[in-house]
Amino acid sequence: MAVSERSAGSGAKNAKDARNALGADLGLSGDDLLEMYRLVALARAVDERMWILNRAGRIPFVISGQGHEGAQVGVTWALEKGKDWIAPFYRSIATCLTFGMSPRDIMTAQYATASDPSSGGRQMPGHYGSHEHNLVSVSSPVATQLLHAVGLALAARIRKTGQVALTIMGEGSSNQGDVHEGLNFAAIHKLPFIFIVENNGYAISVPLARQVAGSSVAQRAAGYGIPGVTVDGSDVLACYAAARDAVARARAGDGPTLIEAKVTRLTGHSSDDQQTKYRSEEELAADKSLDPVPKFREQLVAAGILTPEAEEKINAAIAADVHDATEYAEAQPDPHPSTAMRWVYAEDWPSESPPPWGMGEETASGSDSAPDSDAAADDAAADDAAADEAAAPIDESAR
């Protein structure tokens, strides 16, 4: 969103006060900060609800953004909503909310309803996307989206749209070859492209030192002749500032920027991961202090921006939103199998015909015997013993 424009009003009113107020040096008004806080807290609340629903057996799988929300809101705030592009990743709940998706949009993805705007229930939760909001559809193979954002930046430059394209991934993913190829191309052509690495120190179980030689992703930027910035990802305003500078560079035609936000992963990799197997209790406890939510809250409280009344209002709105999104998603119907062959191509082809078992009615009965487990199947289905037990056992020794 065009922060500079939005804050111009309030900034003009109290020019002197604003200069000393929190965020004023960044051109952020008190209202901006409250809205940013609302988004951080909303993302957390939606996320926490997902885990509750998972434990209650309502949704089979969760992949979480907890610990990443501060960086996500700070960075996204620097873009212009409805104009710029973001190619997000599976932890980008706060990013998507900040860029225009609603809690209902997020929650229907968890339930894989027909109305899920990301995929109509076709993708696993965490694979968000919305053309309406310029959020590129997430896939599972990591890092591929970097090149899509680079392509969007190329299109923006050729078509002179003034858009910036930003992409996000984890530090483990940044080692994929596509990242090297994309940074090189974007830098050669000075494209309006921004690469955000949300470095939480782990790629599932593999720690930074075994993922990233040199242990800094930002330091790779120099190899492409572009700025590489490291920022405290629990500091919302620092993230905003870094992204704002990158956006300015991009719009000015000065090319890409790489921002590495140091964050913490407050949950397991996903609902199927037991992180105590590879992270010590001490480390997990220490990481709690990097939680951006209380940190940002205290900052705003100390600055007198988040007053008790404001907080109450925000909390009530969030609670209502999360409740509404859950109720809504719970009530939404599943997609009908008759839709399953749609959108392979733009048009239907006669030769791409349905399977012998047809497109719907017939499967209704067939589905009884189909596997009915909620076995989550991510990096996951995995060691989740419960999930495995749910799968109908095939006793081949009986043969």
Partner: protein
């Protein structure tokens, strides 16, 4: 009408589509000043400039991935992969991304783009400059695959591909670039995707082929005609979506089917055609569905003796036809 080589027809098609739609861009290795290693884009950089004819770094995954993003952003990218053999580093972007974008987003997104690549052997290109790679991509729902055999079809199909709203792989047999000539109409004609063509009508044996093999099949048909064997040749042109009707109509008429492809036999594209014919024309078959295809070795060898041994040619097809006709 004008007589054009295969590569001229392609170049003309590119130029005319770029002139028609300013969102059409070309990107790839050496496509700019050099005009591509086969000169398919010769002159286009001069005509359309740096922004629309982009020399990329030597990075195929980037070429395809950037094209996907550019397509989302409203361009119509035509990516050139220098040799089909070098498309493999982009496999993930093609299969996981380009092919699935529309489906996975429930039609929220799509990636209208064309990937052009020279394929095929018989030019002393050895293991890595001779490959046929169509089988890897015809297996992938969401991708379209086109292999033209004439200048007319090449230009008309290329136009359709560029205007299509889905990702299309367009493979050009490199041996045909300058050796194949044919009439090309003057106007803005198109050849539709998904339609095969009977290029030689016949009654006794159906031969199904595409690309260079479509020519060799015609030669083979001529050779056996003297001996009274009547061959119907079907040039598939679009491999996916496959024009099943034309294929099945022919085989139901002739009762015999020979499928010809240059790629390794085992698991090649022709296997699917054979499987379809074997299932859907079973009641009409007067002989086994047979295939003449490249031997199952990891690539076309370089030495001419070995290459000759590898390559399917008119004689080998002829032998296959005679055997089947005599069945």
């Amino acid at each position: 009408m004008a007589l054009k080589t295969f590569i001229e027809a392609i170049r003309d098609g590119l130029r005319e589509e770029m002139a028609r739609d300013e969102n059409v861009i070309i990107l790839g290795e050496d496509v700019g000043k050099k005009g591509g290693v086969f000169l398919a884009t010769d002159g286009l950089w001069d005509e359309f400039g740096d922004d629309r004819v982009i020399d990329t770094p030597l990075t195929e995954s980037q070429i395809i991935g950037t094209s996907i993003g550019a397509a989302i952003g409203g361009l119509r990218p035509i990516a050139e992969i220098q040799f089909a053999d070098f498309i493999h580093p982009a496999f993930n972007q093609l299969v996981s991304e380009a092919a699935r974008l529309r489906y996975r987003s429930n039609n929220g997104y799509s990636a209208p783009m064309v990937v052009r690549a020279p394929y095929g052997g018989g030019v002393h290109g050895a293991l890595y400059h001779s490959q046929s790679v169509e089988a890897f991509y015809t297996h992938v729902p969401g991708l379209k695959v086109v292999i033209p055999s004439t200048p007319h079809d090449a230009k008309g199909l290329l136009r359709s591909c560029i205007r299509d709203d889905d990702p299309v792989l367009f493979f050009e047999h490199k041996k045909m670039y300058r050796s194949v000539r044919g009439d090309v109409p003057d106007g803005e004609y198109t050849v539709p995707l998904g339609k095969a063509q009977v290029t030689h009508p016949g009654t006794q044996v159906t031969v199904i082929a595409y690309g260079l093999m479509a020519h060799y099949a015609l030669e083979a048909a001529d050779r056996v005609a003297d001996d009274g064997i009547s061959v119907e040749v079907v040039d598939l042109r679009t491999l996916r979506p496959l024009d099943k009707e034309t294929v099945l109509d022919s085989v139901r008429k002739t009762g015999k089917c020979l499928i010809v492809y240059e790629d390794n036999r085992f698991g090649g594209y022709g296997a699917e055609v054979a499987a379809i014919v074997a299932e859907e024309a079973f009641d009409y078959l007067d002989g086994p569905v047979t295939r003449i295809a490249g031997p199952d070795v990891p690539g076309v060898p370089y030495n001419h003796v070995l290459e000759d041994w590898f390559m399917v040619n008119p004689e080998k097809i002829e032998a296959g036809i005679r055997k089947l006709a005599a069945y």
